[in-house]
Amino acid sequence: MSKTQVNMTVNGKAVEAAVEPRTLLIHFLREQLNLTGSHIGCDTSHCGACTVDLNGKSVKSCTMFVGQAEGAEITTIEGIAQEDGALHAVQEAFRQHHGLQCGFCTPGMITRAWRLLQENPAPTEEEIRYGISGNLCRCTGYQNIVRAIQAAAADLSVKEAAE
């Protein structure tokens, strides 16, 4: 079986590689690009720990062959903070509001919440819960995750108004 050549942009950098077609996007990111922030929780598209952003949409990278992402713009948890290392408002809110315990779900949760707040900058609590329904957390009971996303939404709207 022949290898396929893939080109994509990951966290703003162009990457190119020859890969076995059956390589999953999550394996490519973690094992070839050493971006181990995105996690593999279930490997069956249920838990959302592997969530990354692909062409402006949240997707589960455990259920995508790398070739399907050819030409795509991808953002992983490693690409969310600012270049100087300052945390993004969503990350800061998770820290402030204790939106994590063990942290396993957190990269997927934040990557999803980051996109959700771009799709809907002022979500209701119900919209937040529905919007993150593809991400499971075994620790927090979700209360603090929802609070963190509400706080990030408020923070981002203040920043937007200031600009």
Binding site: M1, P21, R22, S45, T51, S58, Q68
Partner: protein, 287 residues
């Protein structure tokens, strides 16, 4: 879990895709969103040697709504279906149903064509296509044909589609304006397939039901169009008696499996409750 090896193809045109399917007949699968196929490949329940990814084929994308007909391209995602205001205005049950499929990430990738072509009785859109009397346009093997959703499903994962054919477009006659609709799905948790689900559309005139269609999800090895249930409603005031008759007629055609979602008789029972709720909700929404 890692799938077996395969060659990956990403043709830019429908002709090329059909050519690849015929060149590798018997060993090539269409790849749309992959959210049903990749899990099967990881379990090695599917071991295609060639995958023909159809995402770049422009002819398969897009939604058009005209006065009489809705056309949905096979690669329109479930999220696109939800986002289309025009589609919602013409046929709101499509959005209502798509919002109950899986979760946001899966809907961003999973396509409408994949959902209806897959043949999994758990998929939600096939029953809705039967409800609406949709037809699927299939192209390949040197021909083009349209098959009614009501005649497409043979048994679990078996449909009348030939391996060399690509489902290109779904055509749905626009339902009458003022119709009431509802899709009621009982599931154990977000992202689960239905324990049982029912869709209903109907029209009312002077409080009498003038037309109705009923369909069921995941209570047999195919979706079910429940014609007798709909017949029990037409000409009535949709009172308790008519609803009970429709519920009984719907339950009579179910043949669910006993599995993690419950024993068969329970799922048949739930199917009836879903039909009842869907009728009442559709009635309250009909103008």
């Amino acid at each position: 879990m890692i799938s077996a090896e395969f060659d990956y193809h990403r043709p830019g045109t429908l002709d090329q895709a059909i050519g690849l399917l015929s060149e590798h007949e018997g060993s090539a699968f269409v790849l749309a969103g992959g959210h049903s196929l990749i899990p099967m490949m990881k379990l090695r329940l599917a071991t295609p040697e060639h995958l023909v990814d159809i995402q770049d084929i422009d002819e398969l994308s897009g939604i058009t709504v005209s006065e009489r007909m809705i056309e949905i391209g096979a690669t329109v995602t479930q999220s696109d279906l939800i986002a289309s205001g025009e589609l919602f205005d013409a046929c709101p049950i499509l959005r209502e149903t798509a919002l109950q499929i899986a979760d946001p990430q899966i809907r961003n990738v999973g396509t409408v064509g994949g959902n209806v072509a897959n043949g999994d009785p758990g998929n939600d859109l096939p029953a809705i296509m039967q409800l609406l009397d949709a037809e699927y346009v299939l192209q390949g093997g040197g021909r083009m044909r349209a098959v009614k959703a009501r005649a497409f499903y043979e048994s679990a994962f078996f449909t009348v589609r030939d391996e060399g054919e690509i489902l290109t477009t779904i055509r749905i006659p626009v339902p009458p304006s003022g119709h009431g609709h509802s899709y009621q799905k009982q599931k154990r948790k977000v992202g689960d397939y239905a324990t049982a689900a029912a869709g209903v559309i109907l029209t009312l005139s002077d409080e009498t039901c003038t037309s109705a269609s009923v369909a069921l999800t995941n209570v047999a090895d195919t979706p079910l169009w429940a014609q007798a249930a709909a017949d029990a409603l037409v000409g009535t005031d949709l009172g308790a008696r008519a609803i009970n008759e429709a519920v009984d007629a719907a339950r009579a055609i179910t043949e669910p499996a006993s599995d993690g979602r419950g024993p068969a008789d329970y799922r048949t029972h739930v199917a009836g409750i879903m039909v009842q709720r869907a009728i009442l909700t559709a009635k309250s929404r009909a103008a």
